[in-house]
Amino acid sequence: MLKRFFPAMLAIAMVAPLYAQAPLRIAAAADLAPVLPPILQEFQQATGIRAEATFQASAMLTSQIENGAPFDVFMSADLSYPKRLLDAGLADTGGLAVPSTPITYAKGTLVLWERKDSQLPPPSLDLLRNPNLKRLAIANPDRAPYGRAAVAALTSLKLYDDLKPRIVTAENISQTAQFAESGNADAGLISLTSALTPQLANSGSYFVIPRDLYPPIEQGMVIVNKTTQREAAQKLLDFLLSPAVQAQFAKSGLTPVK
């Protein structure tokens, strides 16, 4: 039975996507990985527009868009990368803000996270001074805004030079959390969005790094110029700035801007 229909099913499965409306493609900073998927589902329910997100370090996504990646919207974890695309004429703000400035949609928070079963004292600034802290995971400061914030915070504390040989660098902020969660690193400077996920909330605890220790992680978004779905992209931007979604950001570890 299944065998007889299989070729037909395969044919339909291969042809069907060609006729369906292509989804809106979002290039999203890795700190949004725990936050964005439910919001995009609500967006689809509200507007009928399907949106799919790809999560990576902000700089990697920028590099991909510069080289023609087919994204419609770019949600960075900082303002510098979307600004770079604006300046290169590869993106715009859809008339929502000053044309040369990315639209700020939220602010990020850096936390120190540690497994509950760790032999070391619970997370605090003192943990960073503990000589038994052998491996501290941070995101790559050259391409992940949270990594840059981590280095800035450690530098403000005058701990960076001392800790440098003990730092392991992850590709993006999700991988930083993974290094710490798997116990391969003793602790990690990760995003509050990761620390609030059920998985990490269960297995560990976090300490909010004082905000005066690093420049604010202002997160900006832009529409990629080459999009063929400008109207849908514009709707998504409006949706992300709506009070309901902003409130949801607040619950997921981002500071709302509205």
Binding site: S63, E66, R135, D142, V168, F179, S182, G183, N184
Partner: protein, 222 residues
Amino acid sequence: MDWQAFALSLRLATVTTVILLAVAVPLAALLVLGRGRWLPALEALAALPMVLPPTVLGFFLLVLLGPRTAFGRGIAALLGHPLAFSFDGLVVGSVIYSLPFAVQPLVAGFSSVDTALVDAARLLGAGPVRLVLSILVPLARRSLLAAVVLSFLHTVGEFGVVLMLGGDIPGATRTLSITLYNQVGNFDYASAERTAATLLGLSVLALAVIYSTQKRGSRGRA
């Protein structure tokens, strides 16, 4: 050019290749000379890393051999540090990752040795070690060269395992292919071009060595 990463990649590939030769020569000999129903299973296991996504391997090494399993804690106690984020961890990953590239050419080479020679050696009382070292290896030396070059290059080109397991530490886990990835991420396309050209050059050079020796071999035989 990131010479530290260049040196690290060469060191990793050299250590991996030496270990692989010690493992792959007996393994390939067993696969060719051995008898038993379990041999195809063993052969499949030895070929597995060729089709396995490197990220799967990286995941296993990071999580199953990490500090949260008893086995991982045993390794950490033995080495004095967890396997992840260390050169040793990359060696373990590379040996598994490149195993088929050492085993396959050796199996092909050993299989092409005339069975009459193997039988004669056996009749004259050669044990398995002597058989391998005095008959199979010398007669299949071109396959041995291919195994060495392919294992070496495959390790130099390794990326997925290193990205998942490495932690990007200069001098310990930042290999040349990671440097290339970093350079692209930092928009430093000029450096990325040089790194990519180095990796490309290495590969072409090594393959040229393999093919030139094979050509000479077939001409000699004809």
